[in-house]
């Protein structure tokens, strides 16, 4: 009797402890995000007072209005970000699906070295690549163009995207495709009609990943687009809020909320696919 009670007590204590630490996890992750939202909804004067207030005393949406009215060029950066990241997502989806399928299904001479080079390319210093890309782009007049940014971001996102698609294709049984061949389906038609629907989670994971690479990257955007009208969000924010305007916190955070909160929601909705994509290559089940 006593033993069972002791066991039960231990289990209950354990559960309480687990949820206590989970609360800490939520606080660690959420506090900065909550803070960002709270500051974005107050007047800038209230962002710099001591003691800091948890919730705004005077609630205002002016910071968001200022951003949407394009104060400081926010809309330009936002539009550039959408154009560049959208194109990067589309291109890398198509290109990575073709390549990942090829690596998963076919064996041919020279395949292994190509795959190894793609994986090893992750190791190349990005800042080294950006120097040579800058030199190459100067010669080809690709500096300050959408095309230049799109090409650079796409290749940057490709190796890992290909790796993810390969992992998803590996987990699809070959027999279904073989049946399709027997029924007279061409190889391309099989890929589009049979394989594509089965690797939908992979498509979602690659789409999210490549969008994020282009949307968040500072180094390439800063270097390859020296002119303000081609800046994406990271260089735009850097210029707007870390230089002489470092004290416009509530506007800076209103902008931050606009560019991150929709992404956060999309990621939480689709997190299952992204996690399986990220771990597909590395974790063997």
């Amino acid at each position: 009797m006593i033993d069972i009670n002791k066991y039960r007590l231990k289990k209950i204590l354990q559960t309480i402890l687990i949820y206590f630490f989970l609360m800490i996890l939520i606080c660690v992750v959420f506090f900065p995000v909550f803070w960002m939202i709270s500051i974005s909804l107050r007047l800038n004067i209230e962002a710099t007072i001591i003691p800091p207030t948890i919730f705004p005393k005077v609630f205002t949406l002016d910071n968001f209005k200022n951003q949407i009215n394009d104060k400081g060029g926010f809309l330009v950066y936002f539009r550039n970000g959408i154009i560049v990241s959208g194109s990067v997502t589309l291109i890398s989806l198509i290109v990575a699906t073709l390549a990942g399928y090829s690596f998963s299904r076919f064996k041919f001479k020279g395949q292994r070295p190509i795959l190894l080079f793609m994986l090893a390319s992750q190791m190349f210093p990005a800042v080294l690549l950006v120097i040579s890309i800058y030199v190459i782009y100067t010669r080809l007049n690709l500096l300050n163009t959408y095309l230049g940014l799109i090409l650079a971001f796409t290749s940057f996102a490709l190796p890992f995207s290909i790796w993810m698609i390969k992992g998803f294709c590996d987990s699809v049984p070959k027999e279904i495709e073989e049946a399709a061949y027997v029924d007279g389906c061409s190889k391309m038609a099989t890929l589009i009609k049979i394989v594509l629907p089965m690797i939908k989670p992979g498509i979602i994971a690659v789409g999210l990943y490549s969008f994020l690479v282009a949307w968040n990257n500072l180094l390439f955007a800063l270097t390859l687009a020296a002119k303000q009208d081609r800046w994406t969000i990271p260089p735009g924010f850097l210029q707007l809020y870390t230089g002489e305007f470092q004290y416009y916190w509530s506007e800076a955070f209103a902008g931050s909320v606009i560019v991150t909160v929709p992404l956060i929601i999309v990621f939480i909705v689709f997190q299952k696919y992204l996690v399986s994509g990220l771990t597909a290559g590395a974790v063997k089940e």
Binding site: I26, I114, P125
Partner: protein, 300 residues
């Protein structure tokens, strides 16, 4: 005979199809990764400078000799190693703890896992703004709390004082990176068969024994893979440092990435900057080779 001929014919077509699928990626990666690496290797043996016309001349390994004598290079390397080791140590510890926690029988596991992704999704520039604000000298939340707890008596200028600046930067890096470790570990933990753990429990293994004799061996491979990736990615870490301190104050947060960037785009010494990048690539290759070899030996 006829059948054999047909088979090899279709195999050949298969090969052409498979290679055809790779053409777009090879073109893209060739244009913005492979070709630039070759250009960089060539640049690294020239004295090319953007502001000195006619400076694109071949000078053999002179850049590399200069590199050895360049004290700033060695202190950038030191800063890089300090930031990387502490970031990875922190990210690893926090990530593993939360992965073990989420592997328990809890409700809403997927929801918690989704939440942990948030820091990873936020752009580095925004993370930097958040940390600059929370660690602000005058009205930052961190100073306010530490002062009220009587841990400090006067406000600390976190991002302006070379003595403290690494703390803020490393914490920001850990915050954005621990989710990656956590996800990798959690996915692996869920592949451990339940009966092994139950058998160990019946045999009377306590928490620590279960961890060291069951969990850890299962995690070994993923620890190697995740840590190698982390080292490579952290060598590249640029956004948060550039957005918070631009490598300062003084030289205290100038890592190799920042040093190369400044050398190339504020001093315009593209040749010398490239040689630093190539040296760093060599360091990484050596590290990855020995690290993976060492881990393979241990797991045998």
């Amino acid at each position: 005979m006829v059948i054999k001929g047909k088979l090899s014919n279709s195999a050949l077509r298969s090969n052409i199809f498979a290679m055809g699928l790779l053409v777009p990626s090879i073109l893209l990666i060739g244009f913005t990764i492979l070709y630039p690496v070759i250009v960089a290797a060539r640049l690294s043996s020239t004295s090319y400078s953007l502001i000195k016309p006619g400076s694109d001349v071949f000078i053999n390994f002179k850049n590399y000799f200069n590199l050895f004598k360049d004290e700033l290079f060695w202190s950038a390397l030191k800063n890089t190693i300090v930031i990387i080791s502490l970031t990875i140590l922190g990210g690893f510890t926090v990530g593993l703890s939360f992965a073990l926690l989420l592997n328990q029988k809890i409700v809403f596991r997927n929801f918690f896992r989704g939440i942990a992704l948030i820091p990873w999704v936020i752009p580095g520039v925004v993370t930097s703004l958040l940390f600059l604000y929370m660690f602000n000298h005058n009205y930052g939340f961190i100073n306010f709390v530490l002062k009220n707890l009587h841990i400090i008596s006067t406000n600390i200028n976190w991002f302006g004082n070379p003595k403290f600046v690494l703390i803020g930067i490393i914490l920001a890096h850990i915050w954005t990176q621990f989710p990656f470790y956590m996800l990798m570990f959690l996915a692996t933990l869920q592949t451990i068969p339940n009966d092994i753990i139950e058998a160990a429990e019946i045999d009377g293994a306590n928490l620590f024994k279960k961890f060291f004799y069951i969990t850890l061996p299962y995690l070994r491979n993923i620890i190697v893979i995740a840590t190698t990736l982390m080292v490579i990615w952290n060598f590249n870490a640029f956004d948060i440092i550039w957005a918070t301190t631009k490598g300062g104050p003084a030289f205290s947060t100038t890592t190799l990435a920042i040093y190369v960037y400044k050398m190339a785009f504020t001093h315009y010494e593209l040749g010398y900057a490239s040689s630093i990048g190539i040296a760093w690539l060599v360091i990484l290759l050596i590290f990855s080779y020995f690290y993976i070899r060492l881990m393979e030996k241990k797991s045998r």
